[in-house]
């Protein structure tokens, strides 16, 4: 069963990875998005994330359920609140029988999350405050 969480607590990558381990799966792919300092010439100081609860959780369920229905396991966590450089903002993990599906579905999940899940970042850069990317 999938595990989905959106909240202010730091993302515990090790604990989330453990949720993906299971004898039926031979491939685990995880993606971790972190707060980057430089985007071209723009220097980021920190990022504040906010979400529309519980619509964001519902949207994650819509992403995870069809993939779980194919026999894989999905673990997604997104942090909200104040994040500093190198902090983990998002964790997406897929465990599947074979690596091909795990890679494909992990990429699909993070790409679709960035389009369909109502979460916003407010980036405080050295020169300006920017919403989104």
């Amino acid at each position: 069963m999938y595990y989905l969480n959106i909240g202010d607590s730091p993302i515990n990558v090790d604990a989330l990875y453990q949720k993906l381990k299971d004898p039926q799966y031979g491939g685990i792919v995880t993606f971790v998005g972190t707060v980057r300092q430089w985007t071209g010439d723009i220097e980021t100081k920190y990022i504040d994330y906010s979400a529309y609860h519980p619509m964001a959780e519902k949207q994650l369920e819509k992403l995870a359920a069809p993939i779980e229905a194919k026999g894989a396991r999905v673990v997604i966590a997104h942090r909200t609140g104040h994040l500093e450089l190198t902090d983990e903002a998002v964790f997406v993990g897929v465990a599947a029988a074979h690596r091909g599906d795990a890679f494909r579905w992990c990429e699909y999940l993070i790409d679709t999350l960035k389009q369909e899940v109502p979460i916003w970042k407010k980036e405080t850069d050295t020169d300006a405050v920017r919403w989104g990317d």
């Binding site: 998002v90 960035k114 369909e116 109502p118 979460i119 407010k122």
Partner: protein, 86 residues
């Protein structure tokens, strides 16, 4: 258009919330389209029109299509600015 008008509250997020607060109250035609609701919010904040136009509408936490929306007074209506999670 039957000329019927209803008053609705629209939840706002991100830069729209920062500019206008957590909700705005607008008048829209009965059975409005998403475009009509966005237009009504734009009238309150013409300077944010572009951001409002690129936002999506959600009713009861589901994205809408642009078909007319059968709104009930208890429905939760929200404007979703372009998302930027991840």
């Amino acid at each position: 258009m039957g000329g019927l008008v209803m008053q609705i509250q629209v939840k706002l997020f991100a830069m729209l919330q920062e500019a206008l607060g957590e909700t705005v109250t607008v008048e829209v035609p009965a059975t409005p389209s998403a475009e009509e609701i966005k237009g009504a919010v734009s009238q309150i904040a013409p300077n944010l029109k572009q951001m409002i136009q690129t936002s999506r509408l959600a009713v009861n936490q589901e994205f809408t299509t642009n078909a007319p929306i059968q709104l009930q007074s208890t429905d939760e209506v929200a404007l979703i600015p372009p998302v930027s999670g991840g």
